[in-house]
Symmetry: C2
DNA sequence: GGGCTAATTGTAATAATGTTGCATTTAGCC
DNA sequence: GGCTAAATGCAACATTATTACAATTAGCCC
């Protein structure tokens, strides 16, 4: 919910401004990775105007608070629906409908980090992105 | 080796041109994700000039032949050193020195795809990126 | 409610990155 | 060496991203 994100913002000493609410609403409704300019275009189509500089700043803020996430392959932004587990974010992106779904599995993350450790690599963050077909699109 | 990539190019009916060799050399030597303009700048510093349009086209070609790979988080390009396993590419990126290392594990990839399958998701490609510290930088 | 102030947003200018159509050059072939 | 399709270069343009500074506003006080 947008309200949850707003509360998190305020809890960290940030203001609950109109532009921030608008960006969060668009991310929440769209459920697909959006670039800053995508967001600008969507809002403009609704008669709302936000400067692109503002959108960049808002997205940076949201990412720094883990309220949004920058997708790996496309560079688009999505609203985070889950907390990171062991510093790991995992997304499925449907090649057909573009929908994204975030998911998490503590065990899997641990295994992956252990694997890297065997190469002498000390993992801090771990991003993982699946592309394929979601259950709905697969049935068609 | 650059020579291997060149041979692959020719085997697929593409020409072994100077620009293509130059781009492959830079990718091979640098061992870090590079944007098209990064490559242009590096070459220019060596007194070689390549048009940025040419570099874009070469990188697209290399990616389509799986000779290079576009990194997830940065969007930079790297030379592929391993074949994809089960459609999975896995990279470690050192936050300190920027070096990247590609690695692969059939079992792990299988587990990840199975995991997605449990959510009804049919995976075609799987990109995974670790950021942290490589063994050398960790010791410091 | 009205005023205050730091935080936030908007503006304008510019830089950086990507894309397209067409002219020129070149690798691989005879 | 000459030929031709493939590849590169060029020019113009579109899109995306960043910076410094001016204007606005949310949250707080009374």
């Amino acid at each position: 919910m947008v309200q949850d994100s707003i509360r998190t913002l305020q809890a960290q000493g940030h203001k609950a401004t109109k532009p921030r609410k608008l960006v969060l609403e668009v991310l929440e409704e769209t459920e697909k990775p959006l670039s800053p300019y995508d967001i600008k275009r969507i809002l403009r189509a609704r008669g709302k105007y936000l400067n692109h500089v503002t959108i960049y700043r808002i997205l940076n803020l949201l990412c720094s608070l883990n309220l949004a996430h920058k997708m790996l392959s496309s560079g688009g932004f999505v609203k985070c629906s889950l907390d990171a587990i062991e510093g790991c974010h995992r997304f499925m992106v449907c090649q057909h409908c573009g929908a994204i779904q975030e998911f998490a599995d503590k065990e899997l993350c641990q295994e992956e980090n252990d694997f890297a450790q065997n190469f002498g690599f000390h993992t801090e963050h771990h991003l993982s992105e699946f592309s394929g077909l979601c259950s709905q699109c697969y049935r068609k």
